[in-house]
């Protein structure tokens, strides 16, 4: 009897060890940086971001790993002010002083979408760009994903914040509207944002509102099904063509195109499809569906 239990224990031990050995180690190094975002009308804003290794220099890094991975995360603060780094239900690296860094190693994740952000001076540091998307993937899922990090900018706000002045939230009236830090037509050049696929193929779109305004994203050509919502879990299962997103909210949509073509998706607050007073220079992209 004892020998039998011992064998099972040894077997479990080996299974655990093997599992740990098989789990992938994934490392991210994020640098808190200042960065100037140039808009299509020639204006720019001084923003901040959690910068990684991706080519997108206008937006905090999109972090993707698998739920079976072991994460090694290091955040280095290259700014002259202190900042934080946290994600609800995942981890909190605390306050990171200028020139300092913080690290964490974590495993055993629940698959899903999460936001990470700097909670200091909330919501101003998030507004400046210090917030991003985490996708912890289910290893069994092969569905193509696309990611839209929505945010908007008001030049005077960035000027004031960089001088240490905190503008009144009630006076917020942004002029530039971006997806992953880009405005039309550049959004379609971002392979993370630009949705491409085939008729009959399930596509998933993660939309995270990292800005301060409410956005209402309208799809031409198709209805999509809400499969995850951070704000309204009771809305999951709705088939719609227009999806509102409140600040800090994220949703996941499932879209299975029934016909080919190129179809716009844009904020239906149509002020948000402009940029600096120019029409079609805001939150506007197209889905490109092949037969």
């Amino acid at each position: 009897m004892f020998a039998k239990h011992k064998n099972i224990a040894i077997l479990l031990f080996f299974v655990l060890i093997t599992g740990k050995l098989l789990s992938n180690q994934i490392s991210f190094r994020l640098e808190i940086k200042n960065h100037s975002i140039l808009f299509n009308d020639g204006h720019s804003v001084d923003a901040k971001l959690f910068s990684g290794i991706s080519n997108n220099i206008n937006c905090s890094e999109l972090l993707i790993w698998q739920s079976t991975d072991t994460l090694n995360l290091k955040v280095v603060n290259l700014d002259i002010a202190s900042h934080g780094f946290m994600s609800n239900n995942l981890f909190d690296l605390g306050i990171i002083a200028p020139g300092d860094s913080a690290s964490i190693t974590v495993s055993d994740f629940q698959p899903g979408i999460y936001r990470y952000f700097d909670a200091t001076q909330s919501p101003y540091n998030e507004y400046l760009g210090l917030s991003g998307i985490i996708h912890i993937k289910n290893p069994q899922e092969n569905t193509p994903y696309f990611y839209w990090d929505l945010r908007e900018y008001q030049e005077e706000w960035n000027d004031q914040l960089n001088l240490g002045v905190f503008p009144n939230l009630l006076n917020y009236s942004p002029k530039y509207f971006t997806i992953n830090g880009n405005s039309e037509p550049d959004i379609n050049n971002d392979p993370i944002a630009r949705v491409t696929g085939n008729v009959g193929q399930e596509l998933k779109i993660v939309i995270v509102n990292n800005g301060l305004s409410i956005h209402s994203m309208h799809f031409h050509g198709y209805h999509a099904v809400l499969v995850n919502s951070s704000k309204n879990s009771s809305h999951v299962g709705r088939s719609k063509d227009t999806f509102p997103l409140y600040p800090s909210e994220y949703i996941v949509l499932s879209l299975t195109p029934d016909k080919p073509g190129e179809y716009p998706v844009h904020d239906h607050n149509l002020v948000a499809v402009t940029g600096g007073g120019i029409y079609h220079a805001g939150m506007f992209t197209t889905l490109l569906i092949s037969p």
């Binding site: 009308d41 939230l169 009630l170 006076n171 917020y172 009236s173 942004p174 002029k175 301060l212 305004s213 409410i214 956005h215 209402s216 309208h218 031409h220 050509g221 198709y222 209805h223 009771s234 999951v236 299962g237 709705r238 088939s239 719609k240 063509d241 227009t242 509102p244 029934d258 016909k259 073509g261 190129e262 179809y263 716009p264 904020d267 239906h268 607050n269 149509l270 002020v271 499809v273 402009t274 600096g276 007073g277 120019i278 029409y279 079609h280 220079a281 197209t286």
Partner: protein, 390 residues
């Protein structure tokens, strides 16, 4: 050979046309004048069904049945920029989607066809998608209602739930600065930037094109019968958020959004509708005479409520369940304003007390305030009702 090909083309065209269930003529115009509740006026763009019709905001509602093959013959008679019709939410193919850069634009004095098969019963929108930030603000929008396959006007969808009466509330706003000629009469060149005002500060918040005291004018009350089961179609085509707040006790029950049934009904007196969204909500009226619906419009950047207005449902004091009338009129007697509920589409006729024909009545009210006090008669040719102006 050429003759055969020509005949073949004609035959194909005839066959295609014979499969159209619903034809609609829509005309794009840019010479509307919109009057607000305070008497101020502003220039608008809009859609009409005839050239002689006044441009109104919103445009005419397009109604068809699920499964219908629909053809819209769209004429641009605006003297200005090109226009299109985007069939918002109807999931039409790229060619018929109304986005100029991905299909076609209709230039002034030209026309184009939009074809689609109405997919699902529900509430949709149509609007111009050229310079859309300006052209929607200018007024180029309206509702599309897709009814069940058999055209039942008292059923929300095939196999769905019945109702006695339906109302549509379409929310929008206007910033009159955006309606100046210098903005509306913009140059159109798809290769050049189109400039829009950088600030959007609407002075007027609209429900079905009406604002403020226009909404609380008895002429614009929504009329129903006591104990009616109402189907509300709520839509927002503006750039603000809208909250529709129904009186408690009406058991507001939202069952559909964006032309699809909800997986789970929502029991709430407040329905929030963001730009481009539509919701469909049941209300169960009781025996009260007035039911005020509060409509709040809030800024999407700071969530401040900038306007709160009321839409009034008025119920008739008549118990029509015991009267087989085709139409009825209330209040009666009145000081001159009579509301008309007409179950038929035919126009009614107004007569003097001694039977002299005065005029046709096609609206759902008649204003006799400028007429002498006394007795008048309204008739549909079968039934006549005596009304008294006192």
């Amino acid at each position: 050979m050429r003759l055969i090909l020509t005949l073949l083309c004609i035959l194909i065209t005839i066959l295609a046309e014979s499969q159209i269930d619903y034809n609609k003529l829509i005309i794009g115009r840019n010479n509307g004048i919109h009057t607000f509740h305070d008497g101020q006026q502003t220039r608008t763009f809009g859609f009409t069904e005839t050239l002689s019709a006044a441009v109104k905001v919103p445009g005419p509602t397009i109604s068809c049945n699920a499964g219908d093959s629909v053809k819209i013959d769209f004429w641009n008679m605006s003297q200005g920029a090109p226009h299109t019709i985007h069939l918002h939410g109807l999931d039409v193919d790229q060619q018929n989607d109304g986005v100029g850069m991905l299909s076609f634009e209709v230039m002034h004095d030209e026309h184009g066809y939009y074809y689609f098969k109405a997919p699902h019963p529900g509430t949709y929108l149509y609007h111009c998608h050229v310079g859309s930030t300006i052209h929607l603000q200018a007024g180029m929008y309206g509702l599309v209602i897709v009814r069940p396959t058999d055209g039942n006007q008292n059923l929300n969808w095939d196999g769905g739930e019945t109702f006695n009466k339906e109302f549509s509330l379409l929310a929008s706003e206007m910033d009159t600065v955006w309606h100046n000629d210098t903005i509306l009469d913009h140059e159109h060149d798809m290769t050049m930037p189109l400039y829009v005002p950088e600030v959007y500060n609407p002075q007027y918040f609209l429900i079905n094109g009406l604002s403020g005291t226009q909404l609380t004018d008895p002429v614009n009350y929504l009329f129903a019968l006591k104990n009616d089961k109402i189907y509300m179609r709520l839509a927002n085509i503006g750039y603000y958020g809208t909250k529709f707040i129904f009186p408690t006790g009406l058991n507001a029950r939202t069952v559909a959004s964006d032309g699809r049934p909800l997986p789970f009904e929502v029991l709430s007196d407040t329905v929030e509708v963001l730009p481009g969204e539509r919701y469909e909500t049941f209300l169960q009226l009781g025996t009260e005479q007035f039911y005020p619906i509060i409509v709040e419009h809030f800024n999407l950047n700071n969530q401040i409520i900038e306007s709160s207005q009321e839409v009034i449902i008025q119920t008739s004091s008549l118990n029509l369940t015991s009267i087989e009338n085709n139409f009825y009129i209330f209040p009666n007697p009145s000081k001159g304003m009579f509301n008309i509920f007409n179950a038929n589409e035919d126009a009614l006729k107004l007569y003097t007390a001694d039977g002299v024909f005065m005029k046709f009545i096609s609206d759902d009210y008649i204003d006799l305030t400028s007429y002498p006090c006394g007795v008048y008669i309204i008739s549909d040719g079968i039934q006549s009702i005596k009304i008294v102006k006192d």
